[in-house]
Symmetry: C2
Subunit: 444 residues, 2 copies
C-alpha cells in the first residue's frame, strides 16, 4: 500500500488515542486506558517492549533478548478496541490530526508521544560513526558479538598494538548504564574470559570508564558515588573522572586529558536526548525535549500529549523536568489514562506529581548501591539483593521473570555466562573487516 | 595479519590434529582425543556448536539461540593443548599438510574434516535466492523475524493476493525437519497467532508441506510415515505428496502438480549435501561427499580423515554410506579418537560399525513418532515424551537442558511462545523491502 493511504483500523464510534512508543510510559498508558471509552492504537518500530535497565546484560553475554523483551501484542492481549501497528513515525501533523508513518497515515483524536530517548553524541561525528550505543536490543547483540569477536581475533594477533585494540574497552559515561556495563565486563574479565582464552594474558585487558563529572553516578547520593567508585575499582576498572573522550576513529580513542587508548571498542553511555518527532511547533520543543504542562499536554496543542523521557514538565520541584527514567514515564502514563477519561466526561484534571521511589545501580556480583527517598542510602550485598528483587518485580511478564531469575542463579553459582555467541547477519561490511560490524547506527 | 602467515598456536612436541567443524562429530572427537598424546586445533566459522535437531524451534519462536547453542570454547574448557580458532576454511593442501583459512595457514599432522552438510537446492537458482534454508542459527533467526513481519504486514494489507502471500507458508521436504516445522507452525496458527492477531481471519492461513516421495518421513518406518501424515493434518497442514516446488520467485511458488501458491515464505528443508572442502583429489569425492574407508580415512591419503555427514563410508550394510544424522557422526568421532591413538602406538585399528539407536520426529504438542531398532515403532504421547527426553539428554550442557526444559514447560501450559521478537540488523535491503530480509544465503 502507499504511505499516503490510511493505515487500516476496524471502524468504531470511540475516540481514538494514538500512542507512539511502546516503552514504559506508552505501555502503562495503553494498559490503563478504559477500553469502553477509547480505541487505542499503539505504534512502535519494534514489535516488542524493551526492558532497558537490563540491556547491558544482553551486551555482556548474560541474557538473551527474550529475557528482557516482551512482544507488545502479548502484553496488551485481550483488550478490546486495541490495535498495534509496527511502523516508524515520520512526522505528526497537528493541524490535520494525523501522523505520517512508513506504512501510511493514522488519524487521531488524542495523540500521545511516548518516544523516549535516543543516544546523544553531542554532535561528535567520529564517535557517532565508530562508538557502540546501548539503547536497543540489536545494538546490544551487536556489541556482544563485537566484544567476543575481538577476543577471537586477539588469540591470533601478532601485532602488539592491534592486540591492545582487541582487548581494551572504553566505556564513556559514569551513570548507571556505564557503571553497570563496567561491572559486567569486569566480571567477564575475571571469571569467564580466563577460562575461554587461557592463551591470552588477561591482565593486559583494560576496562576504562570515562566520566565528565568529578564522580560516578552523579545523579545519586554521595554515598552511592563513592561506593560505586570503590566497587568498579575492585573489578580493575580504570576510572577517569572529569575527563571526556574527544575523538574515536574506530582504532584509537583520544581523551581530554591527552591520553591515547588503542581500542576497537568504545561503548557510548554518555548521554541521551529526547527522541522528538518532526512536525510539532517551535514553541513545543526545548533542548530536544517536548514541553508539556502538568497534565502532559504539549505546549500549544489541545489534544497532543507527551510522556516520559521525551517530555519536559517544568515544576517548582523539577525546574528542568524529571529525570529521564522509567518511573516518571510510568507514572505519567498512568495519570494520563485517568485525565483522558476526565476530559471525555468533562471532569477536572489532576496535575502530575512525581513519586520518587529512589534509584539504584549494580556493579557486578554482590555489589550495588541504592538510594531511597528520605536520604536512605546503602550499598553491598543488601543493595545487590534489593536491585535484583526490584528488577525482577518490575519486568513485565512471569516468563521473563523466571528466565532472568534462572539465568542469574546459574551465572551466580557457575561464574559463567551462557550466551557468549557471536551471531550476526551476513552483510558485505562483515566480510570487509572482521572487527567492524554493521548495524551500529540508531535504528530508524 | 596476512592470510599467508601461519595461524599462531603455542609450540608443543605433540602431534597436531586439526579438526574442521565443531558439529556433533568434531566435538566428540575433540573431547575424546587424549590430551597427553595430541595437540588439538578445532576450527569453525562460528564460535558455538549448534544443536541442529532443535533449530526449527528457534525459527518458530519457541527457543532463543542460547538454548540450542553452546560456546565451543566452553565445551572444551580445561583440556590441555587444545586450541579453538574461529575461521572459515578456504581449502586443504594435502601435499603440504596444511589448510588455508581466512585468518591464515594451519599445519597438521592429522586432518579431520567434520564439516557436516549444507542446504542442497539441486541447482534451482530462483529457489536458492528466495527460499529460507534452516541449517544455521542466523538463518533460523531470520526466518522467525520474516514470519512475524509477514503477520505485521498482513494486518495492514488491503490487496487480497498480497494478504495471501503474507499468511501462506510453504515447507518443502517431508523429512524430520519439514514435518517438525510444519507441526510447530500449525501450533502457532492454532494457539498463538489468533491471540496476537484478532483482526486476521487465521482460517485463511495455509501451511503447505510438499514432499517428493509418496509418504512423509520416508526414511522411517511405514507406521511413522502414516502417523506423521495423520498428525500434521490434525494441525490443518496441507500435505502434497509426490510433488515438487519447481519455482519460487519470492512471491509465487509453483508446484509440479500445476498448483500456484501465493506466498512470501518458502522454507527449504528438501535436501542437504556434504559440505565438501576444496583441495582434495578427485578420487576422494563422490556425489558431494568425501569417500572414506572403514577407519574414516579419506581415499588416497594417509593422514586425512572425514567423519559425519560429509563422509561416505560404503559398507555392505550401508552401500550408500550412513544416514546424514548426528549418531553416525558422534560414533565416528569417538572411534577415530581411539584409532588415532592406535596409529601413534602402532596398534591395529578398529573398523567402524554403526550402532543404530533409532530415529524420531515430533509433530506439535503431545504427538511424535519413534522408531527403535528391532522394528519397534510407536507414536502419540509416549513418543512425544521419548522425543523430549532424548533431546534433553543429548544436548550438551546442563544450562541448555534447564533452559530448554523450562521453555517447554512454559510453552506447554500457557500455549504461548516467548520469543516472537522481530530482531534484525539494519542493512539497506531491509529498508528497500520490508518483507524481504538479508542474510539468507548460506553463511560463508
Amino acid at each position: 500500500m502507499s504511505t499516503k493511504q490510511n493505515i487500516p483500523i476496524p471502524f468504531s464510534d470511540l475516540k481514538r488515542v494514538v500512542i507512539i512508543g511502546g516503552g514504559f510510559g506508552g505501555i502503562k498508558l495503553a494498559q490503563k486506558l478504559n477500553d469502553k471509552h477509547f480505541e487505542v492504537v499503539l505504534v512502535d518500530r519494534h514489535n516488542y517492549h524493551t526492558f532497558q535497565p537490563l540491556l547491558y546484560q544482553v551486551a555482556t553475554a548474560g541474557l538473551e533478548p527474550d529475557s528482557i523483551a516482551g512482544p507488545l501484542r502479548k502484553q496488551l492481549e485481550g483488550r478490546k478496541h486495541f490495535y498495534f501497528r509496527m511502523a516508524t513515525v515520520e512526522y505528526v501533523d497537528p493541524t490535520l490530526n494525523h501522523i505520517q508513518t512508513d506504512i501510511g497515515i493514522l488519524d487521531y483524536d488524542y495523540l500521545v508521544i511516548a518516544t523516549g530517548s535516543k543516544t546523544n553524541y553531542f554532535g561528535n561525528k567520529s564517535i557517532m560513526e565508530n562508538a557502540f550505543p546501548l539503547k536497543q536490543i540489536p545494538q546490544a547483540l551487536d556489541l556482544r558479538s563485537h566484544i567476543l569477536q575481538n577476543f577471537e581475533n586477539a588469540v591470533i594477533e601478532t601485532n602488539p598494538s592491534n592486540l591492545e585494540r582487541h582487548m581494551n574497552i572504553v566505556i564513556v559515561g559514569g551513570g548507571p548504564t556505564g557503571v553497570e556495563v563496567a561491572g559486567a565486563l569486569g566480571e567477564l574479565k575475571r571469571s569467564v574470559l580466563p577460562k575461554d582464552y587461557p592463551e591470552l594474558d588477561l591482565t593486559q585487558m583494560r576496562i576504562i570508564l570515562v566520566e565528565g563529572q568529578d564522580k560516578l553516578l552523579a545523579a545519586m547520593s554521595d554515598k552511592a558515588s563513592t561506593k560505586s567508585y570503590d566497587y568498579v575499582q575492585k573489578f580493575d576498572v580504570d576510572v577517569r573522572l572529569q575527563c571526556f573522550v574527544t575523538d574515536f576513529d574506530g582504532e584509537v580513542a583520544t581523551l581530554s586529558n591527552g591520553e591515547i587508548i588503542q581500542t576497537y571498542t568504545v561503548i557510548w553511555a554518555a548521554g541521551v536526548m529526547g527522541n522528538v518527532i518532526d512536525g510539532l511547533g517551535e514553541q513545543a520543543i526545548e533542548k530536544s525535549r517536548i514541553l508539556v504542562d502538568e497534565y502532559n499536554l504539549v505546549q500549544g496543542y489541545k489534544n497532543v500529549f507527551a510522556i516520559g523521557d521525551v517530555a519536559t514538565m517544568k515544576t517548582s520541584e523539577f525546574p528542568n523536568g524529571h529525570a529521564m527514567m522509567a518511573p516518571a514515564a510510568m507514572q505519567q502514563g498512568e495519570l494520563l489514562a485517568k485525565n483522558l477519561k476526565a476530559i471525555e466526561s468533562h471532569q477536572p484534571l489532576k496535575s502530575f506529581k512525581f513519586f520518587d521511589k529512589g534509584s539504584m545501580a549494580t556493579v557486578g556480583r554482590n555489589r550495588a548501591v541504592v538510594d531511597l527517598p528520605g536520604n536512605v542510602s546503602y550499598g553491598g550485598l543488601l543493595a545487590w539483593l534489593t536491585w535484583m528483587f526490584i528488577h525482577l518485580v518490575q519486568i513485565i511478564g512471569l516468563r521473563n521473570r523466571l528466565i532472568i531469575f534462572s539465568n542469574w542463579v546459574w551465572n551466580y553459582f557457575t561464574y559463567d555466562r551462557g550466551t557468549r555467541l557471536i551471531i550476526r547477519r551476513f552483510t558485505p561490511k562483515f566480510k570487509l573487516k572482521k572487527q567492524k560490524i554493521s548495524g551500529r547506527k540508531e535504528a530508524s
